[in-house]
Symmetry: D2
Subunit: 247 residues, 4 copies
């Protein structure tokens, strides 16, 4: 029963959270999936289309303004006449755990480009569209930003990654304060734990306990819930962590 | 399709949030409603039972250990054989906005008794029951605590109320850290705005804009969402505020 | 070269921080020392007076309004004609580390009485005096509240203590916002570590490293620094922790 | 009575905080002043040298790794044989207050380069020197980072500036956690108000009240106090605001 008039976009899809979010929002909307490389979205696009949903994938580097613009032009052609109901920024970049004096300035650049500039560019492309959807979107038009433990804590040896996630949180906060009164919901999430995805399959966390890694489908459910909040009760920030996680 | 084996309890019901939460959880569970006076729960109990749900009301002063114990004994008789799936502490007490030097020590006592001791007593009665439900509850057994702006901000002239809400937040945090690993979900919410209830009907907030007061039904939806989170992705704290609220 | 016109008061003196703060402020002001029992202040009073300073000790239970009032009447007689320049609330009460279900409501009462009601009563007695000193105090009249890790973190098994320290922090914040514009400086400190006092002599913390426990004299220096801040640059909250402390 | 063996460095000097900090630290140490243009430090260098202190100015763009390296080589020649006791990062860049959709990606670049990359580069040059001074520095070697309201709050229309100040705070936090145990003190300050400097002379803040803008000399005093903290009691974060400032 997907909406024919509205679509959703997810930037930063791959085998983990982005895929789950795409599948969840595809139950309600046609979805546009952005990733740097086709191999990151091809399978998800196929999976959604095969299941009767509607998905398109577009290659884009969100840290590059021109690339994001071009991607949304391509999306606009594919989804001609559709308006944007939800945008999810799920790009992760520049994760590094190193003694500070071993870090290179380029590592800070990469983290800031991916997490802060990427969000900036993505928000600049999506917010005008989300504003247009305020009058008739099925739920308040929503921009959701994926954060991490490092969004609120500068741990030892996380200087570059934390810098970029703090920066993204600042942008999300600022956008909430500016765009909530205009009717667009902007939410930031703090994913405080290891996500259970192929890449972390062999990571030993929380003593290997079942449920010790965060299910990406549960993250997707929380994003869907955030999107469905009506405007008298917007959540700006929500944390998610495994029941056995220390915090 | 309410559960026959599990029940929910809501402390602090009245015409506002408590009522909405009771109605929402009554869709899934028989509900026990606690309030100091029968007139606070009678109508809600009748409304739920009339609609085909199951509800009982019990008079209790949660700030008094013996009173809470007695209330749960009464609930135990009514709901014999049922296990507790969700407990909501929604008691509000001691709201006062006054110059500090005009406050009386008794006003601090009232606020602390209602918001901090009440939560303490309620948690001591419900957590053992929630722990017993871990193996087979439809969703992870959940304790939800209603907080406010004053839970995270000691504003001028809010000394007593903020003291008691900060204290309740501390208790909720501590319980999350102790009981999450045991499988019980403890969440704290920050209701950052005026709730749209009979008592606030004439309050002019956010320039009287539609949606400028928080819908208690939306709060209830967020509580239900929190309850349904599976254990790999528990939220500890969630804020809710109107789109036009300054923060 | 102690001030003859102004005095300072320290509530919660004993062998640790209170003593160091008393000695530090006694270099500049006559000091009144409050503690529940004379054995807590007798030696410090003697030490100060012997060193050429001026000190009086008064027995008081700050959690009891009448007791605090009586104490300040006694102080007023001893220090007749002197005005209050600085007040330090250093009372610690109700420290307990226990599984939540083993705690008794009385333990919450004791913690709230000591840390929250005590501060409330102390602030109600000292703020009117501090306000009177605004025009001519050598430094902006100051109220300093000693906090702890548990003032900002509800750790597992710290429910009662954290509740009371969160509450005190709320009061301090509220007082800052109300009294800063009137010229009285209210500051809250977060002592995030074990203090190096006789009672903790045998505690093994930070692997026994030198400097792994906080020097109470250093805490006292920070309080003195806070007191000397001029009013264009007030600090509301300051943390202190050993260099080897994890945080 | 300035130290002959140790020196201090201040990056980001001009007519305001940097100048006051330079003058304050020059009472104890020879000081190296970094700014992009000589006109920013020439007068201060002259003022310090004339008063009997020792100062050198070096042009540097802290956002450029090579430029910072070259600057410290120049400083090393001027202060040959001296070790670094204190480093202050006071660079401010990219302040902008604009509707988000009017911001250009370049404005984010400028803010991140100035506040985040600048701190990164400055810390990479100074931390190795500060580590060498641990054994014999008169006070624990110290790195102080100047923050702002926007370091902890993403206000509407502050997206780029807040992003960069959040990022700098993350770096400072991470460095505290990594370098405190090695004996180097890293502190972050939150200057929560308008500073009383030539540039803000005509700004109407806090209704023009005396003391309504922060004295840069008071900021400098707080930095000096932070530097003098002994290692059992390090402050990681300290806020400063005018007594009449809303917060």
């Amino acid at each position: 029963m997907a909406s024919k008039t509205f679509y959703a976009v997810v930037a930063g899809v791959g085998a983990g959270t982005g895929r789950s979010v795409a599948l969840r929002f595809a139950k309600a909307y046609p979805v546009a999936l952005l990733a740097r490389k086709p191999e990151s979205y091809n399978d998800i696009v196929a999976e959604i289309n095969k299941a009767g949903g509607q998905a398109v994938g577009v290659s884009a580097d969100t840290s590059d303004e021109a690339s994001v613009k071009a991607a949304f032009e391509a999306v606009g052609k594919e989804f001609s006449g559709k308006k944007l109901a939800a945008a999810v920024f799920n790009v992760g970049a520049g994760f590094a755990v190193k003694p500070f004096l071993e870090l290179k300035p380029e590592e800070l650049d990469v983290a800031l480009a991916g997490n802060a500039k990427g969000l900036f560019n993505f928000a600049q492309q999506t917010l005008p569209q989300l504003l247009e959807s305020v009058p008739d979107s099925p739920h308040p038009p929503t921009l959701i930003v994926t954060g991490a433990t490092a969004s609120v804590r500068g741990s030892a040896r996380f200087a570059t990654f934390a810098a970029s996630k703090f920066a993204a949180r600042a942008i999300a906060q600022s956008l909430s304060r500016e765009f909530h009164p205009k009717g667009v919901h902007v939410a930031h999430t703090i994913i405080d734990g290891v996500i259970d995805i192929p890449r972390t399959k062999d990571w030993q966390v929380n003593e290997g306990k079942e449920g010790g890694k965060i299910s990406p489908d549960s993250i997707a459910e929380s994003y869907w819930y955030l999107h469905t909040q009506e405007r008298s009760a917007f959540t700006q920030e929500l944390d998610l962590r495994p029941y056995v996680e220390k915090f």
